[in-house]
Every structure is written in C-alpha cells, then in structure tokens.
C-alpha cells in the first residue's frame, strides 16, 4: 500500500485544522490524535472514490463525527477529557474563568449535542449544512442546539457564575 501523493498533500495541508476539530470533539489531545488518525485511515481507503478535492473536507468531517460517535459508545465520557469534568453541585471557585466553566460544561453534553455545538460554533456550518452532514433534519439541529445551550446555561459550573445569566443568542 503506497500512499497517494494527493492524499499526502491533503493530510499535510489539513491535518492541523482537522486535529483542532478532533480536539474539540474529544476534549483531549490523545483521543483527538487517535480520532484523527482513524478518520484519515478511513478517508485513505475511500480516497480513490473521492476525486473532487473540494468535497474531501465534508467527507472527512462526516467520517470524523461518525467515528467519534462509535468512540463514544465504547468509552465513558469521563475518560475523554484532559481534566475530568466536575460533578454537578460542586462549589465553583470564585476566580474561575468563564471559559474553564464552559469547557467543563461542554464535557457533560451528550455526544450529539457536543458534535452539533462544534459544527455550528467552531466549523461555522449553517443549520442546513450541519443537518446534511449528520443526516438529520434541520429541525433536529435547531432543537438540539437550543437544548445544548440551555444545558450549558443550567450546568452547575455556570449556574453560580454571575455571567451564567447569559441570554441565548441568535440561533441562526
């Protein structure tokens, strides 16, 4: 199995960005690298069938999310984060940064909710693109996003933070 030059170029050009997405999906570096490598291996096996290079990113993202779903089925969420998420109800340090609290709260989201949050707010996909990528309806994307944001706002990590009363922003 000798690697296709175009595939090598794609990996070299895009692995940095893809690793960042994988990190946001998994929450820690080791699992992100594992997820990315599995995703790229699957892409490599399908490479000859993906001739239109502009479509590769979409394929890889879809494969990554689907692969991560299977990872989720095999692993407990608590094992997925560099810093294990705190249990609800623990005291929040007064100086806790809002980002730290949000990161902890994100770790407690369900697998679909987290994937949709990453696709919508990091990858900047539209609701329609997110729905197409995950194979679900636009309505499901809307409702899941809304529930994810509500869960974040209600999470114990943020509930006692004065900034927790953040209004939900536009859900475009």
């Amino acid at each position: 199995m000798s690697m296709d030059t175009a595939f090598e170029e794609y990996v070299v050009a895009r692995s940095g960005a893809l690793l960042r997405t994988a990190y946001l999906l998994t929450g820690n570096r080791a699992d992100a690298e594992d997820l990315l490598q599995t995703t790229l291996a699957k892409t490599y096996l399908a490479w000859d069938r993906i001739r239109e290079r502009e479509a590769v990113d979409g394929y890889v993202r879809r494969t990554m999310v689907n692969t991560q779903s299977s990872f989720w089925r095999r692993k407990k969420p608590e094992s997925l984060y560099d810093e294990p998420p705190e249990r609800p109800g623990r005291d929040i340090p007064a100086d806790r940064d809002l980002h730290d609290a949000l990161w902890t709260a994100l770790a407690r989201l369900g697998k679909k909710q987290r994937a949709i949050v990453v696709l919508r707010y990091y990858e900047d996909l539209t609701e329609a693109d997110t729905a197409a990528l995950l194979g679900i309806s636009v309505g499901t994307v809307k409702s899941t996003t809304s529930r994810a944001l509500a869960a974040l706002r209600q999470d114990a990590s943020l509930r006692d933070d004065p900034r927790a009363a953040l209004p939900l922003g536009a859900q475009s």
């Binding site: 960042r20 990315l36 069938r49 949000l102 990528l133």
Partner: protein, 431 residues
Amino acid sequence: MSPLDDEVRSLLQSKAAGVDPAPDPLGGIESRARGLRRRRVLTSVSGAAAVVVAVAVAVPLLVSGSDTATRQPGGTPTPTAETPFRPANLLPWPRPEALEIFGSSINYLSPIGRLMGEPDYARVGYQPLWTGSVEGSAAVTVGEAWKGTEPARLVTVGAGDQLGPVVDPSQSVVAFAVGGDKGTLIVVAAPDAVVEYAADGSSYQQISDVGQAPKGIGLVPIEAEDPNDTIRVTEADGSVVVRPAPDWTPVDTTTPVNVLDTWVHRGYRQVLSTAAVVHAYEQATGLSGGGQYRSLYDGSHLGVSFTIGQAWTSGEPAHTVALLSDGTFFLGPVTPRDPWLLGTLLATRHLVGSDLLVLLPRPGAGRIGYSPDGTSPFTDVANGRSDLNPVAVLDRDPKATADRVQVHRGDDSVILTEGIAKLTCGAKDCG
C-alpha cells in the same frame, strides 16, 4: 454581556488555537488503514449470509421503481443515507451502467449539487439518461436531478455544467448542446428510437446507432450559427417527433489582456482544485461561462491551504482572487496591467484575532516592507524561505486601517508604497 453562543464560539476558537499540529501527521495512517481493511474483509465474510437475504429483498423494490427504493449510482462514498425519494416526473430511460465512466458518483453528484444549490451531494438524487465522451470533454453525463421532494430537472455535467428545465415526461426527446469552444448536440430518446439531425431543417442524417452513439442516442457536432437545424425522432411505433435543435454559443477562450502570464507560479503545488476556485468566483461575481483560473501562488498557513491567482470568465477581464481550503474566498479588483504587487486579504475562522494578508510582488522584485500603522518604520516581512521569497504571508490586525506596504527593486530602491486597504479592496468596492 455577550450572548452565550458568542462565548461558546470564543471558547472553541481559543481552545482550538492552543492545539499544536501533530509532528508527523502521516505516520500511522497506512498501518491503521491496513487494519481497517482486514477488519472489513472479516466482517464481509461473516456477513455473507445476511447479504444474500438483503439482495433478495432489495431487487424487487428497485425493479418496481417503488418510491421507497434507495438508489446510489456509482457507489457514493458517504457514510450517511442518501435521498430515497424519486420524483414522479422521471423519464423511463435510465442508463445507470454508463456512469462507470466517472469512476465515482462524487464526480458528477458534487457539481450537480452545486448547480442545484445543494452543497451536500449525498442529498442529491440523480437518474442518468446518457453518459459518454464528446469532443473536448472526456466524460459528460445528461440526466435528471432532484433535491428533497422537488420535481426532477434536466442537468448536464462534464462540458459546461448546465441546469435545464423541469423534466416533462410527456416529451419524448431530451436535447442538450454542450461544449466549450466546440459544441456537441446530445439527443436522448427512447432506447429503440431512431434519431436524425438536419442542419438546414430538411436534409436529415441519422445520428443515433452510428459511431459511438448507441441506439436511442444522437450525437452530432454543431455550429452556433445554425438557426434552422432540427431534430427528428422516429419511435418504434412509427410516431415521429420533430423539434428545433437547441441553441449553443461557443465559449470565448481568449485570454484577457490583464492575465499575468509572465508571472511564474510560486509556492507549493496547487492543492485546491481549479474548479473550486472558478465556482467560487462565478458565485461571487454572478458571471458564468468559460470560467478559468490561473494560480500564481499556493501556500499553507496554520494548516490551512490557500491559492492566489487570477480568475475570469469568457470575454471578461481577470480579477485577483484567493481561496482557502475552508471555503473562504477573496474577490479582489480587476487585476491591473503588469502590477508591481498583488495583495489578498482573507478573514478566516482559522485565525483568531487576525486576518490573513498575502503580498505577492512581481517576480524579480526585491524585499517587501510593512508598516502596521502607516507611521512606524517599514520592517521586512518577506521571509527567506525559498518557496516564499519574496512573498509575504502575514497575520494582519483586522482593525488596521492605515497599514502600508513598500516594495523594493532588486537594487533596493523603492518602487512602490501602497496602503493595504487600497491594495486589497474587494471588487465591489474598487470596481
């Protein structure tokens, strides 16, 4: 107080920005792919009995043309389900075996999706009517495409992609004229029909079942200036249909005078496809027909590939453009004749708190200086990497308004001092 979704966006961007690239991104992929392949072989062997049962059920569904049947011509490499819906207005002449010429369904579904405004090709339904090669294009497919539960529309891909009208099942002939500077008329009729063509409207010659044209398919080179040409189709029951041949306008392949054909390509090998740049350019300008792109520089920044060059359509001057692999597109002004410097500015989500500024001087120019506020001294910004020299790739403060660039000749005399805002203003601002 910021909305929560702004905080989430900010959090994700800052967390992602802290992830360093893997030192050896290619390492381990091959061995893992081999493992996956072995696992798939084992799985397919153990699942053979189930496959037999599934085929026995699926075949009657497909043959009956049930609305619930699921089709996937050409083996779309998508892990998600495709559209099961089949519109009621489909014509009864599909020739799915011909699609093998494309190698993969992604090669025709992706452009069809773009034509129909559906970015996810897996959601596009397609029924081919004819696929083959015509002069000037190795692979052309004519067929019916649909998205969601909309009626099917005629479409052709491969030689000037075109979206045609909604399919009318009462019509017994589908005719398309395709091509760039040379045109081909493609007529699709019932498989047992005889297709004829007359350039003058009366002297018919059979164009189906001759040469590479199979039965029921007519192929003939056409000229744009045939106002009287007609198609005649004789069906198996003896009924005859006569229709005017569709018009076709040759694409002007003349290169615009402002194309910088003396500028050598610099940087890496072009990774982003020319078709992607042309598509983005046509979307941004609203122009179409004979779209072309010439890359001048290709590079990568923080793991994101980009290409910078000139794009144009038939008969129009070339614009300076840039495209990132994340889809971010820069439409610059009409490229000046023989400029000393081109600049592109891209606001991309991969950069937090800065924009990507690329300064591309005329080959042979000397060093490039940059002043971030217009008053502080110019500092050299083109680094010494052989693939970049003297191209400058900078993270620019999005709030900068007075920053300037200075280009030197080879003898170090200043040849140009220019404001970045003026250099990189978009086509709509600068005309």
